[in-house]
Structures are given as structure tokens and as C-alpha cells.
Symmetry: D2
Subunit: 338 residues, 4 copies
């Protein structure tokens, strides 16, 4: 960490910074610049030290991290790419994994039909929400336990692992009993109590990026999962909140090469939630594969017009089947396959 002193900081003020560093077991080195003094704080855990520890001292103008605040999710900590296994389906390898299905589980018929379509088209994991986070308390909140049971039933029938969202610490053990992978939604990315519980469940976890979380904050949140000795963590980019109003969220495509540079974790892209509209999903799905995504999470509904939740962003069976055909040569063009 770099602590830059104000112009005219006194020797006592500089010394207080040095003393604090020493009291925390860190070394320091002083840089006497023309206009101001800069104190370099040296040590292997400076990334986990809040910058305020020094910024609060008199005479300090500012502080800058040199080490990243995240640790377990960093490529420095683990240089090789990680892979995750969702009941035998490997994520992070040469194959790009397609996870598809309806936004919400609505009925046995709907889920069966969806599973049949997406499996036929080449998806290898089934998605579907049993617990739904809704912006309004007056909206449909999901089938809950009944939805989990339907997911489990359809898994057996189609031999496809399932990923589903868990919304509350109260539900982690129940969801983990049924699901092959737990999804933590964007609005819960920094719900640390939930992260700890999900990490402890030992299920693979797909951690969606918060609406306004930086990549650094996202990787730091992943540390909460990894800190529970759960190394089965996938990241999921699903769009960030910006000023642009022509789509629901702006897919941050550059987060992919950034994560690949700084982290070893696999990254999935959810073009459906970013777009908010089926018409924009295919272009965003293609961009994701070209930019290095390890998988896609796509909403497909047998009949989007009758969907109870987010039908607008769901692909029809025929649109999804066509998209899968278009994605295959793209995957090959980047040296992978679907």
C-alpha cells in the first residue's frame, strides 16, 4: 500500500504512519519526493488491510492499494484456471457449457417441455427458479419447495443437472438438497451471510455480479465462498447498471478479459437478464463466446407469451435452437466447442 503525505506533512506525522505499519507487522520504505513524501507499506497481506487504516492519520493525503483486496480468487494465489463440476458437467474446460431453461418453474408440463427443448438443442445444464426475487411484493414469488421438487423430478427424467437460485440463508440447506449448483443472484452478491452459508453447503456456486459491483468487489465477494473451503465457484456476468436506457442492463463484455487476467475462476455470461428483451439475446450470447466466456445462462420458455416471469427476455424453442446452431461455429472459431 502507498501512503502519500500532504505537502508540508511534519516528521511526526510521517513517523506516525511508520509506527502504525510496524504495529501491524509491516515494513515501510520512505520516498522523499520533491513536493511530498510517499510511504510504501510492504508486506504480503497489505491487500486485506483497509486503506482507511492509514488515511485516517493526520498529514495523510491519500492511500493507494498495490495489492488487490481479493486473495483466494486471484490468479496470483492460484495461477492455473480452475474448473467446476456440476454433477459431472465440467465448467471452465474446452467445452462451453450452455445452461438453459425457464426463468421460473411454473408447472411440471412447462418444465418438462423446456428441458426437452434445451437438451435436444445441446444445453447440458437445466436452469429454473423456484424462489424468485421480485422488485414488487405483489408479484409471483415462485413455487418454492414444490418448484424444487419439480426440478429434481425433471433432472431424473432428462439426466440433466440443475442450477437454481437461493435467496435466503433460511433456504440454503433445502435448496442444496435438490440442486446440483446454487445460484446467488445479483442483488445478493454482497449478502455475506448468504455467501457463507452457500459456501458451506459444498455445492458448486454460481455467483452473479451485483448490478453496480466492480470486478474487484465481485472477486472479493467470491472470496467469501472460497474462504469456506469451497473451490467450486463460478462467476456470472449479467450486465451492470449504467445510464443507457435502451436495454435493461449493460453487458460488461470487458469484464471477461479482465477476469481471465486477474482470476482463475470460470466465467458464465447471462445475456437474458442483461438484455431484458429476446431480440438482443443472440448478439450478446455470441459476443460472450467470442470474448472468452466459459458458458452461457439463457432463458428459454416453451411459450414466452404465457410466462409468469420475464417472458420478454425468454427465447422461444425455435429461436433457442437456431441460436445454438449459430453458436457452434463461433465456439470453434475461438478454439472451443459446445
Amino acid at each position: 500500500m502507498i501512503v502519500s503525505m500532504q505537502k508540508g506533512a511534519t516528521p511526526e506525522e510521517i513517523d506516525a504512519v511508520v509506527q502504525r505499519a510496524h504495529s501491524l507487522g509491516m515494513d515501510v520504505q520512505l520516498n522523499w519526493g520533491t513536493d511530498k513524501t510517499v510511504v510504501a507499506i510492504l508486506g504480503s497481506n497489505t491487500g486485506q488491510l483497509p486503506t482507511g487504516t492509514f488515511a485516517v492519520l493526520p498529514g495523510v493525503e491519500g492511500t493507494t492499494r498495490i495489492m488487490k483486496p481479493y486473495k483466494l480468487s486471484s490468479r496470483t494465489f492460484k495461477p492455473q484456471d480452475s474448473t467446476v463440476s456440476i454433477a459431472g458437467v465440467e465448467v471452465g474446460g474446452k467445452r462451453i457449457v450452455i445452461m438453459a431453461g425457464p426463468c421460473a418453474v411454473e408447472s411440471k408440463e412447462q418444465l418438462m417441455e423446456a428441458a426437452s427443448i434445451v437438451k435436444e438443442a445441446g444445453a447440458s445444464v437445466l436452469r429454473g427458479g423456484a424462489f424468485k426475487p421480485r422488485t414488487s411484493p405483489f408479484s409471483f414469488q415462485g413455487l418454492k419447495k414444490a418448484g424444487l421438487e419439480l426440478l429434481a423430478e425433471v433432472r431424473e427424467r432428462f439426466n440433466m443437472p440443475i442450477v437454481t437460485e437461493v435467496l435466503s440463508t433460511l433456504d440454503v440447506s433445502q435448496v442444496a438438497k435438490y440442486a446440483d449448483a446454487l445460484q446467488i443472484g445479483a442483488r445478493n452478491m454482497q449478502n455475506y451471510a448468504l455467501l457463507s452459508r452457500a459456501g458451506k453447503s459444498k455445492r458448486p456456486v454460481l455467483l452473479k455480479r451485483g448490478l453496480s459491483a466492480t470486478v474487484t468487489e465481485w472477486l472479493t465477494a467470491a472470496d467469501y465462498l472460497l474462504a469456506e473451503n469451497n473451490d467450486q465457484v463460478m462467476l456470472c456476468e449479467r450486465g451492470i447498471r449504467t445510464f443507457e436506457d435502451s436495454i435493461r442492463f449493460s453487458l460488461d463484455i470487458s469484464s471477461l478479459p479482465v477476469i481471465k487476467r486477474f482470476s482463475h475462476l470460470p466465467v458464465i455470461v447471462d445475456p437474458s437478464h442483461a438484455a431484458g428483451h429476446y431480440a438482443f439475446v443472440p448478439a450478446m450470447a455470441k459476443a460472450a463466446i467470442a470474448a472468452g466466456a466459459d458458458g452461457l445462462l439463457i432463458e428459454v420458455h416453451p411459450n414466452p407469451k404465457e410466462a409468469l416471469v420475464d417472458g420478454l427476455q425468454s427465447l422461444t424453442p425455435s429461436d433457442f435452437t437456431r441460436l445454438m446452431q449459430e453458436l457452434k461455429p463461433l465456439a470453434e472459431a475461438v478454439g472451443r466447442y459446445i
Copy 2:
């Protein structure tokens, strides 16, 4: 809700929109424009209807809400200003309520000293965190139950009600036993499971705005609390995430007149979390009062240099005492008092 059809939409497509509206118990009126047809969906609950219900139909170009998606928190629903009582301290009346104290409860001595200082300077509610949400799992997470007990002890000693954060559904009943008001943090604004529990506790709830939540989403989240028949809800503006990097969050001062126009709920401002640095807290506190805030939530620490959490944004006792002196004439200049 307004549904605008694409140029060249067929009569059958227009009719499908009309049929869907009727099936939901809504009336419609057709507007035959020069270039496109616009269908107005009429009814008293159109605000709670997802726009996708119509946007998903063939031939629809777009949809626009006329009614707001929030209901119970709206001024249309309740035209008169609401007031909240935190153990007898009224929020939303002529008096501007100052809630102050340390970011985290660290020890009995620290909390006692903080309470003594802020009470002496004119604060009427004591704040202090027993459960701390931290971006890194390696940071101090709060004293938890021991912290709640200290808060309760200090409340008795200084006769000041306390407000403290609740982080998890698992802790709601425990926190509600000790606290006079529950605080829901920014990162949990859309943690609906937590909102429902907190609403059910019947304690007054201070709902912080999410980092990237619009005012509309914030008021819709407040509906989750109000829907539990808990009318003791306060909003708390604490800065939003923008591109500006000279401070931690950009205090959205304009949210105050916007809320006062569209909602009946009282609004508190937290300049400490927005600023992230003590030097910017006073100007932001003053702006809040001038813009119509019903209260302030300010971090004060007996010795910020030694604070375990967020010392950089905490005011020293003397800075807080001076600020309180400066705020009093400002409150009077806007027809209120502290």
C-alpha cells in the same frame, strides 16, 4: 400502461393486446396515430403489472408505465406526510432528528464515550453496528450479540433510543429484541426475505437506498416493509454509485425533493457513508438539511484513528460538536429545529 404497436402491426396483433388486457380485468382504449397504434391499458392496478406482460406479444414495439410500480409508499396512496416514532423520538416532524455514534460497536468504553459526546452535542438517537457487512471476509465482522447487549446497556444509561443494522433473516428477532429501530443496509435493499422479516418485527425500520437503486426501486422496496402492516418506515439516502472517484459515493441530493413529491415517508441522510472521508461530511450534512432531510445519520468516534471500521469517515468529538452548532441556524433557516 401504454402499449405502442410497431408500424404495420396487424389488426390481429392489436386484438391480442386488447384480449390480454381484458383477461386481466383491465379496460383499453385504442389511439390510432399517423404512424402507429397506441393501446392505453386502463385500470387501478396497472402499476403493479409487469410491462413484459404486453411487451412480449407479437407486433408490440414498447410499453410505458403511467402508474408507478410502488403503491403503499406513494403519496397518491397516502397524501399526508408520515411520521415514525423511535421509542418516542418523532421522525418526520418539525424537528430534524440527529442519529449519531460509531460505525461499529467496539467496546463498552468506546460506546459509552461516543454516546456521551453525541448526546451532549444534541443527537437524539444513538447509532452503532453490532453486525457489520464487510466487503472482505477477512475483516472484522462486528461484536454481534455482545454488541447488541452493549447498545442496550448504553441506551439505559443515556436514555437514548438505538438504531442498529440487521444483516440476515436469521438475526431479525434477536436484533429486534434489543434495538429501537432496525437498519437495513444498502446492499440488502432488495434482499426481500430480510425486508419481509424486518417488516414483521413491527420495529421502525430505516431502509437505506441500494448503491444503484433508482428512487422508484427504493420506494418499491419500501412497499415490502409496508405490506407487512408496518407503517414505521424511514428512507435513508446514503449516496449512489457513479463514475466520480473523488469520494466514495455520490450523495444524490435531488432524491430528497423527488421523494417528498412522490412519497409520504420521512427521509434521513447519511453523509458519512457517502463521503467516505470526514473532511466532506459537514458540507454534505448541511446540504441535506437545506434540501429537506428529516434527519441525519452521522458517524462519530471518540478516537477515529483507532476505529476498527471506517474511521476515515468518522467525525471526532470536537468536529461533531462544531458541526451541530453550524447545523442549528441552518435548520431554522428552513423552518425547522434540531
Copy 3:
């Protein structure tokens, strides 16, 4: 345009809205909702009418556009895709056009070498800045006229058309004399005086998106060019300003399908300015092609370490050559070629 009245608006207030619409030659249709009245303003030019025209009237709660504010750039105005010819190189057709070269023209040797490399690797247009917009007045501002002359000389030598930026109304005629296409930079997207002049030059114009311009504002700015009877307009996505700080600008990949849906203009992507760092350029270039870009604008420098401007985002000759090899199969995978 939709004008929604406040609950309780008087008949006189509603009538004033109707009268204003009539005075502007528009028709109206009244929708009597349960809670509020909605006035639909009908006419073929409502998109160009400021919403404030009605919002300012007493009793009006809000206004919503149905028609887009842009006109000449819209697909409604011209349904077929437009193509642009840069001295014979067609943009917007089946071929994806690569425009590459140094950020700034520095010397004859540098420009010659850059042109030789990018042509050899498959680029068909040479880019290079003679006038440089710099955030600091103390930075290198470009070779200006001497730079234009070098560009013209290198064009003859390598038979590659050139695109270069024009910064000021004062320079339009001079730049237009040398360049095959004019580039309007992001910071000038709403410099309307410059847009008009550039439009009048009859040169093809590449209009970069403003740092915080919505797609709608960008297309409306393109109308300034098109309104000068200049139909040779290309858009260029180069990243938007968001809260994310791991790269310089967030490439808004979803702007591509959005523009393709609402406009007939070709779209180029500049991954170099978005990324700000060479390491992230390839992934973003690939994503652009997959998402439907009609071309790329890439910075290449013979020796980035010695570049006078933005060397960090420039590819080396070998990195560019490798990227071109990787882009070719991707272009084919989306049914195009380079």
C-alpha cells in the same frame, strides 16, 4: 407523445393540453383512466417535439415519447441498411472493414512502418491522428498540418484510404482536403457546430459515441450530419463511462444489436480506446465482430513503448498480425469476411 395528467386534474387543465396540441397541428385522443386521464398526442412529427412543451402545463404529471427523437438515422425513415464508401472501401457490406494505425502521427518513418504492417496484415483503411484532443494542455497536441501531409503521402504510397479526426470547426475544410473520412471524437459528439460543418464537407464521417451519450442521443447527433444531405455516416462505439474502474471505458456491446434494430447506419467498434490497455483489445475486438460490428478501428504502433500518445492501448505489429488471423474465422462464423 403521451401526456399523463395528475390525479384530480381539472377539465380546464386537460383542455389546455388539447388546445396546445391543436395549435401545433396535432390531433389528440383522451383516455379516461380510473385514476388519471391520459392524453395521446397524435401526428407524424411528435418525435421532434420537446416533451417539455406539454410537461410545463399545469396539471400535467409527466410525458412519454412514443416516437423516437431521431429521424433521418432511424430504420423507420430508411428500412434498408446503409453503406458508406471510404474512397472505394465499402463499409456496411459483407466485408468487415479493419481500420488500423497509430493513435497519433508522429513522423514519416513511424507512419510508413505502421501502414506497411497493417496493410500486410489485412487492414483496408489507415487511421492516424494529426490533431489530438488531450485532457491536459501540457500534453503533445499532434503534428497538425504536417501530420495531414504525412497521411496523404502514405496514402499514395500504400494505396490505403485514411481516416483522421477533426477537432475544430476551424479545421474542417483543411482536414477534408486531405482525409478520405473525417472522424468526430467522443468529446465532440454533441459539438453541433462541428457536426454541421463536417456534414457539409460531404466527406464520409465516422461519429464516435459520446462518453455518456445514450444510443438515442447518439442517433440524434447523427441526424445533424444527415440533415446536411450527407448520407455517408458511420457510427463508432468506443466505450461508455461507468463505475467500473478495471478498464478505461466499458465497451457497450449491446449497443450493436440495439442500433441494428433501430437504425440503418453501419457501426464500427474501437476496442483500443475502450480498453485503454493492449491486453484487453483482442477479446473486445472478437466480441465486436460476433455481435455484428461492420468494422473495427484499432490502434497499432510499430513500437508502442516509444509512442507519444496512448502507447499502452496500441498493439504491437506481431500482436496485431496474430489478432487479424484470429478474427478471420470469427468473421466467417457470423457469415462475413475480412
Copy 4:
């Protein structure tokens, strides 16, 4: 500037950084951390050095500025507050200067009436646009020269200095002939050609903040004006672009204390353009004064309903007169006067 090397950077790579610094006349100091080496670049002009100068070298992980990139506008360069004189009206002193008038000059009658109203209510500078930047080329673009002549005429009649916007380098000398202060609009904040010309005019310049400019970029743009030996520079906060959609721009109230800390320049606030709606102007004007603004720029129209431009954000004469009465005690409460 701090240059942090990648873990495992070679001695040759570190040496190349050192050599580059020496070649630029800078000193260096090496900090050998546990995990990586950090090179401190020392010298008085490191703030004006692009970070890419070092970031582009092999083995470099990142760079961080210690010195700000702006210089002439910084408080380090000039510790005392600056004042500006607009034809004798001092800005930056104890008096808070109110600049008011219509958005656009429309006619002699309109301007006379506006001037009469705002002068009577206590404003000391008249604002009014003769050249109007409009998002659509089909909108009213201002009276141009005729507007300037009207402004000059009204100045004589009411003895009020005038501030008006200049849009193009072509118009600077003409506008400077009539106006007492030049306004540079938000969309032109980084139109460097215009800044240089405006600086050279020797008129006081009011520099509005770009829609998505950081405070640092804004102060660096002010350097363009100051570098022309023009020390009569005022900043004007007018709201930034964020995701919030209930108002037009989010007034960045915290920019005020930030600027007061890092710069010596006076700051004006324009609540009208931020709000976009008259109902929100008063609260934002009050907040600005409480937070330390040196002046306000407010739109007032004799009859907003008939305004040609931005009537929605204009105050009526009676609303403005009432606001001025409310602002006076607020100014006194912060030790100033109007």
C-alpha cells in the same frame, strides 16, 4: 507516480522503468515488497506525465498517480481562494452571486421582463442564451447575433452584467464583444479548441462540468483556460449523468467540498439544468448554498408555459421571488449573504 511491477518481473524490466524515468529527468526510488517491486517516480511534474509512459513497459502491472494531473487550478499551486470579477460583480467573496434569466433570449419584451424580475428579486447577473446547443437539429437554435444585441441593450437598461454561452470557436470574438462573461457548456467542457479561444478572450469564463467528467478532469480542463493567462475562471456544477431517471441529471453536491479542498477556483451551481423540472429547483438551490456554492445560475422566464426552450425547468417570476426570500436566511446561516 508509483509504478508497481508484476510478481516475478526481471531485474532488466525494473531497470527499464528506472531508465525511462531518468530519461525524463525524474528520480526514482525502489521499494522491494514481499510479493512485488514498486518503483516510486519522483519529480515536480509527475502529475503532467501520462501514466501510460510507464504502464506500457514490459513487466509493469500498474501505475498510480500521486500528484494530480491538473496544476494551475490546484490549491497546491495557489493556496488562496480566487475571486472573479464580472464587470464589477465579485464572485468567490462573501456575497453569493445569483445569476438568473431565461434559458434562451427570445425577444426584447421577454428579456426586458425577465431582467426586471430577477433584478428586483436580488439577482446581480443576467443570464440568457443567444446560441443554443440543441440535441436535435430540428429545434430552435437561438437568435444568435440578434440575441447578443438584445442582451447588450438590456444590460445598459438594467445595469446588470450578462453571462451567455459560446458554442463555437468561430463565435468567440463576437460573443466576447457583447458578453461580460462567457459560458462554456457541459458538452464543450473538453472542446479544447474552444477552451483555448475562450481563455485568450480575457473575458471571465464560467466552465460547466461535462455530463460525465470527474472533478479531476474538470479541473484539468480549467487548466486549458488558465494556461492562456486568464485567471478569471469560475466552475459550474450542473449535474452529472447517472442511472437515476427521476430527474434529468444528478446534482453532484459533494463536488463542492471536493473542489474547495483541491482547487482555489470559485464554484457556481446550476440547479435548473440538473433538475430539468421547476419543482425540484428550490431544494437543489438551497442545498448548493448550504454546501458552499459561491453562486447560483437559475433559469427564470416571465411565462415558462410559452418558453421556446426548456420552459419546464424555468421558475416563474413569483416562484423565483419566493425562492430568493428563502435563500437569504440560508446564506446567513452559512456566514454569507446574497
